[in-house]
Amino acid sequence: MPISRLDPRTKILILIFIGILVITLDSVTSLLCCFLVGIGLIILSFPTWLQYRLLFLFILFSTWGLIYSQAIFYNASPRTVLFTLVGRDIPIIGTMTGGVHVYREGLLHGAIQSLRFNTTLTIGCFIVWSTQPRDLLLAFVKLRVPYSLAFMVTTSLRYIPLIATESRNVILSQRLRGFRYFQSNPRRVIRDLLNSLRPILINNIRRATHLGETVESRAFSPEMVGKQRTSLRTLNMQPQDKVLLAAGIFAVLGVITLKALYFCYANGIYYAHWMRGVYTFVREIL
């Protein structure tokens, strides 16, 4: 069975499990494993090249931003200077900041943070790209998300391509009226770019008002939803969904238990000699 046919509830719960894991884990190795699971899910859902490109750009920019900023602004101790960008004897910036350095621990911390962020991002993309919005809506409702909220989220997904096209046309119209990204007056560039948000924003407000009217004209009412709303389709969990969920629960509970045992050992609360291997595993891998 293609992985995209998994029950959407399973996909959402996998995201939640991995979300818990990436918070609990704090070594580059284990977080890299979680990230690779996310990449594997993406590959198995056969996205388009455009989606691959989009994901690659997201990952590239977030990794660069997080690692770079953490490497420079890391202020915990100990910290080891790898190299110096601005020496402390350089006038103004150097004397004011005491020097701008790249720290080894900062790089590592940035890598961990970016792996956490990119893992959840990747699995989020997997869910959105491999699930019909209608199935996502049903899954949210089954997971007891308020219907109005679930409906709002899934409807907004449908309008993302339209908003992207409109944004492209706004920029296109501006460029055909002589707007240049690169010109001698950056204030003008910023002003024009901000102005280009105006039609996009106003169109979206109009569309939202219009959609609201349409929804109400089709008997939608937040008060009635919980009481009598029926559904044309229902979701049924297949055996493979149950296996995946069981594996997910096992992984989350396992990691939390191991971490708790290590916490007890590290804080002198409980120590068992026969668990030395476990302590080493948690310290080195998890």
Partner: protein, 555 residues
């Protein structure tokens, strides 16, 4: 017995001081078909929203008077319950869907009403049958539907809820002629066979009049006229005074000095044959031309601005080509209409002329240079475009700033910018609105502002994508008349995509007819509209006066 009663209804929107409806009184009998028309902003949409309870229940505002449906006052019922008696279909098919699959969309209202799942299934099938769509449409993705199919699905969504009254707000304005004809046929059937009462708000009087029983003409929130259809057009002046379209054939009969005002080709043919105004034999070609009107002389050789050479274009992941082996040249001083059904490739052709789409095969030369190699900002002053949604072009705080933005980017002197802005504002009748915020204007005024903003760069070629969508008759005439006059005077080129045959006959000197990406005709509009087979091939419908001329010629 009256099914809908509107008693002294006045309504003021929350943010306004002036009422949008003023003491409206009317009655609709069960099974009647009402044509509701009037200029933009006259209150048509407000009245329709009042009839299904959206006003004031969803909008807020101050409503006085009563609206009753089947003797039941709407103010006594929540919106969710009114939906079961009254369905409202909106103008833009793309903006009224929230699901991705047809069956989910149709089921949405039924699910909200708490209809059991096993009944929803059968009601979806029945609703699809009512709008003449096959059951296979249930699992079609909404994004793959054409404009006409979307509007049918939207209608099916309402039919599934089995309303007794159907309200429609400009349901055909975004559709091509064939889809419009299909939708109107379905509405006629729902009215005649299923007994649904229909109230349709529209600018397209010629098209809807043959279906309707009564005509309501609105002006400034008041019901200026409420007459049975056979009396409604005996005097056309009230419509003309308000800038509302008058039925084409009624106008022809008035021009010919006949007393009756036909609204269908059958009526007109009978009337003309009975009258002595035409010879008993076939009318001469000049008489037929006079009916059709607006024959344009073809201009002599002009320098070529754009040349499309054997171009094929296919969108990524599309099953077939959007444009196939198109070859044509566009010269200075031309006014060209691009026509064809929805999805025929009209907008793709415009975007190709802009150099935005790289041809899969063939090439486009703009002034001898490969179009895809030109930088967009370098095209400023050479090519301008106004999209179907004019709002995408508006970004300044005032109309004046909007129009001056382009010339400012061209680094013209202040004096030149001022002169050019004033000239364009005057030409498009926007001078009085120069200090208004563009988004506070009416749809027609926004369209003119967007066109003025693109035209102020005095581009060699101006492209308009569907300038007719959502425009009323007088605004459209005003825009096109001013623009064409200015384009001719400056020896510029205007290319517009449209479904409106009358607009093409009136303004275009040349027509490009597209069918499924192929250019099937390139010539004078008169030649195209004299060829019924060609029009059928391009899914176009000739104006009624043209159809009449064919009939008379055959007699």
């Amino acid at each position: 017995m009256s099914q809908i009663e509107i008693r002294d209804v006045s309504f003021t929107y929350p943010s306004r001081s002036e009422p949008s409806l003023k003491r409206v009184k009317a009655e609709v009998k069960c099974g009647e078909f009402i044509l509701l028309t009037g200029p933009t902003g006259c209150g048509k949409s407000t009245l329709l929203r009042t009839l299904n309870g959206l006003i004031p229940q969803a909008s807020g505002g101050l409503l006085s008077g009563d609206v009753t449906i089947d003797d039941s006052n709407l103010s006594d019922h929540p919106l969710a319950s009114i939906c079961q008696s009254v369905g409202l279909l909106f103008q833009n098919p793309g903006d009224q869907f929230f699901c991705t699959v047809v069956e989910d969309e149709i089921a949405f209202g039924l699910e909200n009403l708490g209809v059991p799942s096993f009944r929803i299934d059968s009601r979806i099938d029945a609703a699809l049958a009512q709008v003449e769509l096959p059951p296979e449409f249930r699992i079609r993705s909404i994004s793959t539907l054409s404009g006409g199919e979307k509007q049918r699905v939207a209608l099916a969504c309402l039919c599934a809820m089995r309303p007794r009254v159907l309200l429609l707000d400009e349901p055909t304005s975004h559709l091509d002629p064939k889809s419009r004809r299909d939708i109107l046929n379905i509405l006629g059937q729902l009215n005649r066979e299923d007994g649904m009462t229909v109230v349709i708000g529209t600018h397209r009087v010629t098209e809807i009049a043959p279906l309707c029983d009564r005509v309501w003409l609105m002006n400034c929130g008041e019901l200026a006229l409420d007459l049975p259809v056979n009396q409604a057009f005996s005097d056309l002046d009230p419509y003309r005074d308000l800038g509302v379209e008058v039925p084409d054939l009624a106008e022809v009969s008035e021009q010919w000095g006949l007393s009756e005002r036909p609204i269908t080709v059958d009526q007109a043919e009978k009337l003309f044959l009975q009258s002595n105004r035409l010879s008993s034999t076939s009318p001469s070609s000049s008489e037929v031309s006079e009916y059709i009107g607006h024959e344009h002389s073809h201009q002599g050789a002009q320098s070529v601005l754009a040349s499309i050479e054997d171009m094929t274009f296919q969108y990524p992941r599309a099953a077939s080509s959007a444009l196939r082996r198109i070859s044509c040249e566009i010269s200075e001083g031309e006014i060209i209409a691009v026509m064809g059904a929805n999805g025929a490739g009209k907008t793709t052709l415009l975007l190709s002329i802009l150099g935005l789409l790289r041809p899969t095969i063939g090439k486009i030369l703009i002034k001898g240079v490969n179009g895809t190699r030109l930088k967009l900002h370098n095209l400023a002053g050479q090519i301008g475009i106004v999209f179907q949604d004019p709002d995408l072009l508006l970004q300044a705080s005032t109309v004046l700033d909007e129009v001056a933005y382009g010339p400012g980017n061209l680094k013209l002197s202040h004096r030149e910018i001022h002169e050019r802005t004033t000239e364009v504002l005057t030409a498009l009748d926007l001078d009085s609105l120069r200090n208004e915020a563009p988004f506070s204007l009416s749809r027609g005024q926004r369209q003119r502002t967007a066109t003025a903003a693109a035209y102020s760069l005095l581009p060699d070629v101006l492209l308009l994508d569907e300038p007719t969508a959502g425009q009323d008759f007088s605004h459209l005439q005003q825009l096109m008349t001013a623009l064409c006059a200015s384009v001719e005077e400056q020896n510029k080129t205007l290319i517009f995509c449209t479904h409106d045959a009358q607009l093409t006959l009136q303004y275009a000197k040349r027509i490009l007819l597209l069918r499924k990406g192929e250019l099937i005709f390139d010539g004078q509009p008169m030649d195209a509209f004299s060829n019924p087979e060609l029009l059928e091939d391009a899914s176009l419908v000739a104006p009624l006066r043209t159809q009449l001329s064919w009939r008379l010629a055959n007699n």
